[in-house]
Each structure stands twice: as C-alpha cells, then as structure tokens.
C-alpha cells in the first residue's frame, strides 16, 4: 500500500491566509448597490394575541419598506420538519422576541429609531415557561398535550429487576439552555425579484434555506439560489435559523421591488431571539448487583423544545439513543419526551441532545459508585461496552472497541489515581481550597440518526475546471471546522496530486449538489467519503481517456484536466450516499443500528474549588478519544479543544438567565464564556482505529468533545467536596453555594 500523501498530515487551512489577513469576506462585508438595511420588530411578551400595530410619530413611514404576515406570497410557515413556525406572527404570539413586522430603509440609524417607534397591541395570555409545567399540561400551548415528540426505547424486562437487585440508585439531573455564541452574529442579504430569490448568508445548510425560501415564495428549485458566505462559527446555531432571516430579508426585498436587503443581527438580538441548546431533565433509576454489574436502567428524559417544533424531534432522538451511555445493560427503558413552552424555539447546538443525556448518565455513574461504595473506575469497567455487546437500541458493536483501555490511558495522562489518593488526604484539612479529579466515558454517534442518511441520500462531486484545478462540489459548508481543508486533502489524496491542485467551490445551490446539511459530525465521514469516491471516479476518467499517463505530477495533472476539457467539454464526477447493507434501523420501534459507527472517548479533569467563593477552576483537562483515523492532526485537535472549551462552559459558567420567557443576560458581558485566562491547556490525545467506511478511515469528530466535559467536571467536584449533590449544570458558584450552605442567610 502506498503511503498517504496528505491524509494524516496537518495541511494548513485552505482559506487560512484570507482569514489571518482580514481579506476573508463575511456576510456583513458584502457591499451592494442600492442596499437597504432590514430590521425586525419583535414581541415583548411570551404569549398573546396580536390585536394591532401602531406606527409612532416622528418617523417618515412612507420612506420605509414594511412587511407583515399579510405580505407572504406562499407558505407562511418555515418548511423544516413540521410547518408550524410562521415567518411572521399573523395573530398568535408564542414566544418572546417572535418576529412580527419587518422594516427596511437605507439609513440604518433611522431604521433603528423606526423599530423603536412601532407599538404592538397585544392581548397577553398566560405563558408556559417550565418543562415540568408543560409535561403537566398546566397550559396547553401546542397541539393537544404540548408533546412535540415522544419515544420509547425498550430492551429486556426492566421491571423484572427491581425486586431482586442488590442496589437501586436513583437520581435526577438537569441541564440548562446554552447559547452557541458564534462570534459572527446571524445575517443574510437577499434579492427577491421577478427572476426569483437569491440569498447570501452566514449559514451551515444552504439547502435548508433553499427549501424554506422555495415554499415561502412558491418558487421552483432553479428560481432560488442560496450562497454561503464565509461563516464566523455556527455550532448548530446557523443550522435552521438562517431560513427565517433569509425569508425576512427576501420578503423585504420583494416588497422593495428587488432591491437587496441586508439583515445583520446585533449581538443582543442574536442572543435573545435565536435558538439555544434544549434544557433537559433526566430521571434515572438503575439497578446493580452486589458486584456493581448494571442490571437495569430506567430513564425518563425530557427536553424543552420552546415554542415550535423546529429540529426538536431529531434532538430528542439523538439524546434518547445516547441516554444509556457506553454501557452494557440487558434491561433498559428510555422514555423520551420533548415538550412545548413559550420560550424561543430551542435548536441545534453541537452534540444535539447527547450532551444532555450523557451528562445525566455519566454523572449518575459517579453517584452510583458513591452509593455502592465502589471506585468509579471499577464500577464503569464492569459495565463498559465491548465488541459484540448491544446498545440500548439493540445495535451490535461490530468493530474492535477497547473502552477500558481508553479509560485507563486517559486517567494515566491526568495522573488520576495518584492525584485522587493525594487529594483524599489533603482535602481533609480545613483549608478552604479543595481539589478533585473526575472523568466521564462516552460515545457520539457519527452521521445522522437512524435512517436519516438514507432519507438524505446526499450527493457530492468534483469538477475539473479550465484553470486545471479540481473543485469540490458540495453544499457542506466551512464554518471554521476545516471542511475546505479536509475535502481538499481527501480529493488531493484520491487524485494523488498536490493540495494546490484542489479547490473547494463556494457552496452555492446553483453550482453544488445537495450533500446534506453541515451537521451531525457527518461532513468528513459521510460527505468526505462521497467526495473521495467522486474524485476516484474523476481520476479514472482522466486515466482512461489516455490524457493522464502515469506517473504524473501536479502540472501534468493540470494539463490533463485542461486537455480533457478541450476535448470533451466537461469533467465532473458525482457520488451518492447509499446505506451500507449491514445497517438496519426500525424507526417505529427505535431498534437497530442507530448510527453506522460511534466515536468513543474518556475525558478526565482536575478541578480546584475555592470554598470561600464557590468558584471551580479547571486545573487540567485530558481529552482522549478514538475517532477512526485522524486526517489532519492540527485541525482535529482544534476541533476537540474548541469543543472541550464549550463543554467546560456548559458545565460551569454558561447560564442563560430567563425572565418571563426571555433571555435576560443577552450580552457577552453577562453570558459567561471562557476567556483565554480562564482555561487550562486542554490536552488532546487520539487513538486511531481506522473505520472501514470513512474516507481514509475517518469517523465523525465535531460533536464528540461537547459531551464529556460537563460530567467529568462535576464528578471532579464530587471528589473535591465529598458530596454527590451537584446534579445540575451549569454549576455556577451561586448553585454550588446553595448546595454547600443551603440555610446560610
């Protein structure tokens, strides 16, 4: 076998030069002739009926483009899973900050004054703001029973176990909403005229926007064109929401006779109005035998979906499937529900339901270890999945899997065992500083859940162009994670040419096929494979045409591409996803192969707790994972480090403060993500175990690092303080104080 030319090597970021020089073009950097700025008038209340709209004095309203729900030409609802979320409120208001009216003007300062001068007359209704209240149907705000989706995963006979089990451990765990906090706020530009609608935007999924705009304007496929601009972070936050903003900008442009309209959210608008991670509550009842073998797991997993369905059923599904953790358990029941409340819809955020349920189970394992009087390592090792075992959905683990080894090696990197022993002794002293170590073992399913990839049937391709280079054609977007570089490496490898011979076409629905959304840790493993297959096809075409004699270098390859184009006019190859035959999933019973494969990990953390201020400082963090083959070590490490940082925030500081259904701390000053001074050096280790169906043996990697930090940190806090009570994240100093000093005035 030949040595890889590119795969496994840290090739520099393809668009890196443009980014470090400031030349990269983001949506707000686009300049257009005749541009209008758009703004959104939003509901101040979480629930009510819109009775009227008043336009205040002192504003030249005749200069403004004004759009209401009455102006919508096609489907007034955003086309996604359910068509229940309106682009603009017609009469019913279902969440604070819901869009009611749109304004456009060329002077954005006047526009801002106008926005403030619109008065909405609203008959307020009692809002439903709490997950438990929604489950109890204290108000019914969606459908018959507030239930967006309910799932049941069953394996074995859970109820047969309780009577005879040596230990029953119960616990309830909660996770809060989390803001994606990409540093570039949401924004789009749209032109809607007789020819159709064109959108430029900061977005993850061009074809989601394409679908939504088509149905909003009743247009055909080729009348709608979506172009992704350089995108300053997404993390799920630009998965579904851009459809709404693009629709708003396009409606304004239509009303403005086709003038381009730009809507850029400012930070607060982005934070208070757009999606966040679903808050969750998980109840776990578990049974163990005297040795610590897990006999039964009964899980009640509930998430708050906010006011509309959006992506919630899929989030629930991934959360439920991951809820049992990486454990072998013959008797498992996972009851999962997603409910409606009158908060802005919760949506996609890196991990997509799994960080919530994995927090619960991995925290629960340490609670159980304490109750059983066992070491948390030993308890886990008795129960960790291995090859041949089945997951909660009955999926058989068919690849080699060494979770105990992953666990041991992660703990060794942290020096866990000796630190644990040492702190057990030093923490007994009366000093206010306590130290602790903790860890979590977990997995993340790669690609879409269940039959998702089968339904998507994604297509990606490559094209030789007249500059002699090969362009990757995919709707999968570069949002910082390294798509451009990874695709280029995969294609350059398949073509056996230098990196310079490969470019990635700007995602533009007029040019690229639908390779599916940029989500679910699928871009490398699923789309990368398609791109690789297509590139192999293109190379074969060139070789068989006789224009590319082997061996060849980059220049010879470019000449061959040009020659082929001159002779045949066109050089393109596509590949479409088809489900591997051994992958079987039953969407009704929730049984079978939930994912084609999983990435596996153990994360270990050391914390220092100041019991005077209840601050938890992360002193050391080890992230060790098996992700198939690593295609680009620097990019892969960067993904893990960034995900861990978000996970640390999720666990300790990133609290969304709600006030009557509205985020009250919608400023970067008050929503606390870490600065460089707050974080330790995150230490990343990969164990490679090539995955047969991924390009170059790669699995998905993007979301995995979001899952482990929160439980590892709280387990370390449990060790430091000797209490199992921390069960809710973020574990802010205020929350920790309430645990340690509940009665203190």
């Amino acid at each position: 076998m030949t040595q890889p030319l590119h795969l496994g090597h840290s090739r520099p970021r393809k668009e890196g030069r443009a980014k470090v020089t400031g030349a990269a073009h983001y949506t707000d950097d686009v300049r257009m002739e005749g541009l209008l700025h758009g703004a959104t008038v939003r509901s101040p209340v979480p629930r009510g009926i819109l009775r009227g709209i008043q336009f205040g004095d002192g504003i030249p309203w005749n200069e403004f483009v004004i759009v209401t729900a009455k102006d919508v030409p096609g489907d007034p609802m955003v086309a996604l899973i359910e068509h229940d979320q309106p682009f603009l409120v017609a009469d019913r208001i279902n969440h604070a900050e819901e869009a009611v009216l749109l304004l456009a003007h060329e002077d954005r300062f006047l526009l801002e004054r106008a926005r403030a001068a619109v008065r909405l007359e609203i008959e307020a209704l009692p809002p439903l703001l709490d997950l438990e209240d929604s489950l109890a149907c204290k108000e019914v705000v969606w459908g018959q029973d507030n239930l967006f989706k309910e799932l049941l995963i069953e394996k074995g006979e859970v109820d047969s176990v309780w009577k005879t089990a040596a230990h029953i451990v119960e616990g309830e765990y909660r996770t809060g909403a989390q803001e994606q906090l990409y540093i570039e706020p949401n924004g789009t530009i749209a032109v809607a005229d007789a020819g159709g609608v064109t959108v430029w935007g900061s977005l993850q999924c061009p074809y989601y926007v394409h679908k939504a705009i088509k149905s909003l304007f009743n247009l055909s496929d080729d009348q709608v064109r979506i172009i992704q601009m350089e995108t300053g972070g997404g993390f799920g936050g630009k998965e579904d929401y851009p459809s709404l903003i693009a629709g708003h900008a396009a409606l304004l442009s239509m009303k403005a006779g086709g003038r381009p309209v730009k809507i850029i959210y400012d930070r607060e608008e982005d934070m208070v109005a757009t999606t966040k991670r679903h808050p969750s509550r998980t109840r776990i009842r578990s049974a163990f035998d005297t040795e610590g073998t897990l006999l039964a797991l009964d899980l009640d997993f509930a998430i708050d979906g906010g006011a509309y369905v959006t992506l919630t059923p899929v989030v629930l599904s991934r959360g439920a499937i991951h809820a049992g953790g990486p454990y072998r358990c013959a008797n498992t029941r996972i009851h999962a529900r997603a409910v409606a409340t009158n908060t802005p819809p919760h949506g996609a955020f890196r991990g997509f339901g799994a960080p919530q349920s994995l927090f619960a189970i991995e925290r629960h394992m340490d609670v159980a270890a304490a109750q059983l009087g066992m070491d948390p390592i030993a308890l886990r090792k008795r129960n960790l999945l291995k090859m041949g075992d089945t997951t909660a959905t009955g999926q058989i683990i068919k690849e080699t899997l060494d979770l105990p080894g992953i666990l041991d090696r992660a703990l060794e990197k942290l020096d866990y065992v000796s630190k644990k022993h040492q702190y057990d002794i030093t923490n007994r002293a009366s000093a206010p500083i306590k130290k602790g170590v903790g860890f979590a073992v977990f997995m993340h399913g790669c690609g879409f859940t269940g039959a998702g990839e089968t339904y998507l049937a994604s297509v990606a391709g490559v094209e030789g162009r007249s500059d002699g280079k090969v362009y990757v054609l995919a709707a999968s977007t570069e949002i910082g994670q390294g798509t451009n570089t990874m695709f280029s490496q995969v294609v350059a490898e398949a073509l056996r040419v230098p990196m310079e011979c490969v470019e990635v076409a700007q995602p533009d629905t007029a040019v690229v096929p639908n390779s599916g959304p940029t989500v679910a840790s699928r871009t490398c493993m699923v789309v990368g494979k398609l791109v690789q297959d297509a590139a192999q096809g293109l190379r074969q075409t060139l070789v068989q045409s006789g224009l590319l004699p082997e061996p060849y270098d980059g220049e010879a390859f470019s000449r061959a591409v040009k020659a082929y184009l001159e002779k045949f006019g066109r050089l393109k190859a596509y590949s479409q996803y088809s489900t591997p035959p051994h992958i079987v999933w039953d969407d009704q019973l929730y049984k079978g192969d939930a994912y084609t494969t999983f990435a596996w990990a153990c994360y270990a953390a050391e914390v220092i707790v100041d019991t005077r201020t209840f601050e938890v400082k992360v002193e050391d963090f080890v992230a060790l994972q098996e992700v198939g083959r690593v295609l680009n070590p620097v990019l892969a490490e960067g993904q893990i480090e960034g995900g861990v940082a978000q996970g640390i925030g999720y666990g300790l500081s990133e609290q969304v403060v709600w006030n009557n259904g509205r985020m009250a701390n919608g400023q970067m000053t008050n929503y606390i993500m870490a600065t460089s001074a707050d974080l330790p050096r995150i230490r990343v280790y990969f164990e490679e175990n090539p995955y047969a169906l991924g390009p170059g043996g790669a699995k998905g990697i993007g979301e995995l690092p979001m899952d482990g930090p929160a439980p590892a940190l709280l387990n370390a806090v449990q060790h430091a303080l000797g209490t199992t009570l921390p069960r809710e994240i973020p574990l802010t100093p205020e929350r920790l104080m309430e645990i340690l000093e509940p009665s203190n005035a």
Binding site: E112, P432, E615, N670, I672, T675, P733, M737, N744, A745
Partner: protein, 293 residues
C-alpha cells in the same frame, strides 16, 4: 448593530478652561466623554438619554501623575494601563494597580480612565474599593473654582454623585501609605478577564506596636454605591492583631452591605462571599503582621 443618534453633537474643547466654560454656559446639556469604554456601549445601543458630548480625551491638563511626600495625584484621564504599569503605584498602591489589572482587558485598559470610572458611578466598578482603602479625594472643578471631595462621599446613590452639572473631575489624590502596612484586593468576578465583579473587596491596614491603628475596607457590587464598611472598620481599628475576632467581623459586615439579586448573581451569594473574603483577608492580615513582628 443598533442605532446611533444622527443628531448628536461632539464638542472637542481646546483646553480645560474651554470645557468648563461650555459646561457653565449650557448647564446640563453636555455630557463629559473620556475614553468612551463605559458610555459607548449604551450609546451604540440607543439607550442614552442625552445627545451632546464634551470630548475630554485631548485635554493634557487632565493627564499625568504628581508625586509629593504625602500623596500621589493622578489626572482624571489616567488610563488603567498607565496605572497598571506605573512602578511607584505598583510599589505603594497594590490595590489600585490590581484593580486596574482586572478591569476589562488590555484594550479596555488602554482607553478606560480613572475619572471616567468614578463619574460613571457603577457600584460594580473595580477601582472604587481600592480608592476607598487609600483615602482618595476627588478634585471637582468648574469655572467658579475647584473643590476636593473625599471619595467616600462622592457617590450619593445608584449612579448618582455629588458632581454639579458644570463640574468636571480633574484629579484624584491618594495618600501614600506609611509605616507597617498591609494591602488586600480580591475581585470575585464572573470570569478572569472581561468580567464584572459580583463581589469586590479591598482593604488597607496599618499596625503600630501590634495594634491596628488604621483599617479601611472598601467593597464593590454589594450596595447601590461602592461602600466603606464602617462597622467592620470600627471593630478592627484599635484591636491587637492577634486578638481579632474574625467571626464577629464577618457578622458585622452585614450591617455595611446591602446586596441585591441581579442577572449576574444573587444577594445571598454576595453576602456569603463578601463575608468569606473578609475572613480570608483578616486571616492573611494577621499572618502578615505576625510575620513582620
């Protein structure tokens, strides 16, 4: 981004005298603007009720630092960076230097000014507790003349000060510590940098012959204004160091602070942590003087 009032005016005076004349001539019209780090945020968000700004940034009269035998006098436009990097301040006024270090981050510290920080009147600002420990005085000047106000009397209520509309802060004077002294500063913020204090505690103590002869305790984010904890100070002053009653001092502190719940923290947390940090500081103080003895 949000709106900026197109009708707003910025006047840049050529001199301090010019600035004071304008303030006197058009009373209450002009809002002094120093480095902009506080004002520009609500301004850009369209949340400022006033439209006319008096740009002080270029006034050299408000810069610089004077050193006398007893005191240091800082120009109102002294930036956090200037304070942070000044070797004499580092030596003699560690609380002030530390509070400059923890205000925002470098880019903020290059623009934010001491005078602006005081005029803005936020109870969560980081320099006030330190200034309170150093017996700071604030010079207010108008065309009619100038007056020195003890900083502890400067704030009269939430974001309210003793300043008259025609006055500017021109200088801040702090007394140089003498003798056998101890300094303490701790900001408990929402994070390590770019943070707003949830509780901020600063203290200065001087000991003569084993007895605390001077003790000043300043706190931020625990009341509508930065406060001196008088009850605690009275308790500690005059005590023999080794007989300090730390538990009693912690209890007494509750007389001096009136924290609230807000989006950053809770009243209970602020009370608990203020007391805990006071305990920490008194312990460290006792240790410090014991070591010196």
């Amino acid at each position: 981004m949000k709106g900026q009032a197109p009708g707003c005016r910025v006047h840049t005076p050529a001199s301090l005298a010019g600035a004071l004349e304008l303030l006197a001539a058009e009373k209450g019209v002009w809002r002094p603007l120093a480095g902009g780090t506080d004002l520009m945020v609500p301004f850009a968000a369209g949340k400022l009720p006033f439209m006319d700004f008096l740009n002080l940034w270029g006034l050299e009269e408000l810069r610089g630092l004077e050193i006398s035998e007893d005191a240091i006098t800082l120009g109102a436009l002294s930036t956090y960076s200037e304070i942070r990097n000044h070797s004499l301040l580092q030596r003699e006024f560690p609380n002030l230097v530390q509070s400059a270090w923890v205000t925002g981050a470098i880019a903020i510290q290059n623009r934010g000014t001491l005078g602006g920080n005081l005029a803005n009147g936020s109870p969560a600002a980081d320099t006030p507790p330190s200034l309170l420990t150093y017996g700071a005085e604030v010079q207010l000047q108008s065309i009619a003349g100038s007056r020195w106000v003890p900083y502890e009397n400067f704030h009269t209520g939430y974001k309210q000060t003793v300043m008259l509309p025609e006055e500017l802060i021109t200088r801040i004077r702090i007394r140089r510590p003498k003798g056998n002294n101890f300094h303490f500063f701790r900001k408990v913020g929402t994070r390590k940098a770019q943070a707003i204090a949830k509780v901020c505690v600063a203290a200065y103590a001087r000991v003569e012959e084993g007895r605390v002869v001077e003790f000043r305790l300043g706190l931020g984010s625990v009341a509508p204004v930065p406060v001196r904890a008088r009850t605690v100070e009275l308790m500690v002053e005059g005590c023999v160091v080794d007989t300090l009653l730390i538990a009693a001092a912690r209890t007494a502190l509750m007389e001096d602070i009136r924290p609230i719940d807000d989006i950053r923290s809770t009243a209970k947390y602020r009370r608990t942590v203020a007391a805990n940090v006071l305990g920490q500081l008194l312990e460290e103080m006792v240790e410090h003087f014991d070591r010196m003895a």
